[in-house]
Symmetry: D3
Subunit: 136 residues, 6 copies
């Protein structure tokens, strides 16, 4: 079993704001991340798949194809977007890095070929904060 | 003459949008950067000053004090903010990285002690795009 | 289950020196790391916790609170310190990166709220050497 | 149990080319990576071992000795080499990053002292593509 | 005057080999870089232009257009190529990083719009070696 | 004219402490950097030289020789050392990054071949603080 990772980049606006709470409570809990006028990040997305290398190619899976699927099905939907407003797969969820990573996992699962086993989503929100999700 | 650089971090939302143009023309010129719902970035800010090291301290200037001035006078005003809406020193200007770097230079000049000579502002918008401004 | 990581920075002096050995044997085993006058490092500390995201916040745990706990309970005790002399939780142990990582794990366990599950300590001593500890 | 990682660097030429296929089929499958005149990479190699720290040294294993073994037994054979032509332990295999990581694992296993437990090989082909292999 | 930099990536094979010298003398001068079977690198290319920001856009020049010109006119010609064999603008020159940087400058000058002032080419051959060229 | 840079690494202990001042005044001025028991850093050293590429080699200067000179004449003297105690070329000077960069420039000037023109010393003390010195 070999694990193959491809790193992609996107940037987006968001705010941490629970619409069921008052403005004051949002500011209490989320601090400056609750700024109503939004803030944003450069995200680094690591997608890891696993499998046996094919003897004819030496590949677990063609990393160029993996990159194309990530770009078409995930990056296209979140790059230069407002995560709270523009992204169908985040609707109704808090826009934390945790939920964004879970959403990206679920989105990729819909579009990866059956022979590809997704292993992990790792998502940097800043160079000093990241989350990882393994599907369960 | 020795050059001393301190690196600080902030993140913010913005859009590239000229209010004097139609929406269509903005999208033509700025592409997805014109998204009306904003996007955002993690910015890395490099502030370089220059001078003779003081023989008693070995310092051009105390880098901790430099960091405090940058944080109080610049980062406080732009971190977790919307650059098009929340930042007085950018009012009436297009929110490009170029103009943000010039604005930071002008803002710092107001507050750096007279003995400190500002040399350069270097500002990364993404890991692959940065601008530099030397005051003229 | 989502894994959340916060990265913090500190620097410190140390030497690799077993006081039960002669100077010659220390130099034989530890080479220039045994320099009696000390050397030092910039350390990068990765603290990973795990849990279910809270539906109200989207957070496994508030990363700002996690950062404050790490800074107060760990960084304060080791930043700009001599690891062989100044750090109670390393007393009587060899000052290797391995033992420093284990010590940081034990120190954090004393102060993390009961609902937080510590998963891993990853500690870079140089950009080319790091250790990981998972608590067992 | 503590995990200790050492990072080493090498660079090499290769092409992705299955000699059992026509030139056209190679280009179809591997695109510009099939360029008959070769291309190349700077590789970053992460070698992770695991064990109990020795109480006398604080070490899982002396990282300088680990580095020497990696350099002598692995880097010497692949640095500034053509992976398709010059490397005995890759003969008859496709020169993918996957197979290179497996080959490095097998090569290291032959030369690591019996008390050292190899845990993982992580190999960056570019800053955006890496593979990991855990020996099974 | 503001300086704007765009970073691009490519990888290539090459060898350092003066065809006017014997094999022995090449090995004497270039060591393992003279390997007849080639080696290769991941290169990081920094292209810096300078100018006054346009008040309507805030841009010195549209960085997306700059990126497209670099990719079409430079990266296309050297990415996944053999620098000694495949690259017209290096013909008859030694394939050092110095000459590659000068060649890229000359190539870009042919295709940058008249209003764009090229300021610098910075080229990393490895994370520890880079050259800079300012056109004279 | 082409500029060639080689990056080297070392680590060392130091303290910021003016022996002509009281302990209290040192702590007032230098804060935790004045810790009498020392602290330390991983330093990244960038050495830049300039010149015309030699047509026979394509080199401004052989970067491997440059690296050997830096290692023998500079790194050997400061790596795994105490900068306040162990380093002849810093004797009698405050151990700031500024003075360390100037000292490295002067040390290198003694040993670089006459045909090599030193252009700059850039020295990172932490990933967020660096100084540059151009010899005047």
């Amino acid at each position: 079993m070999v694990y193959l990772t491809r790193v992609e980049h996107f940037n987006a606006a968001h705010k941490l704001y629970n619409p069921g709470w008052t403005r004051e409570h949002n500011e209490e809990v989320f601090g400056k991340c609750a700024n109503e006028n939004w803030h944003g990040h450069n995200y680094e997305l690591y997608v890891t798949i696993k499998g046996q290398p094919n003897p004819d190619t030496g590949f677990v899976f063609d990393v160029k194809k993996l990159s194309e699927i990530i770009k078409e099905k995930v990056i296209e939907q979140i790059d230069h977007k407002n995560l709270n407003i523009d992204v169908p797969f985040l609707e109704g969820k808090m826009c934390s890095t945790e939920n964004l990573a879970i959403g990206i996992w679920q989105q990729l699962q819909l579009f990866l070929p059956a022979e590809v086993q997704l292993h992990a989503i790792k998502l940097y929100e800043t160079p000093r904060i990241y989350v990882e999700y393994f599907g369960e």
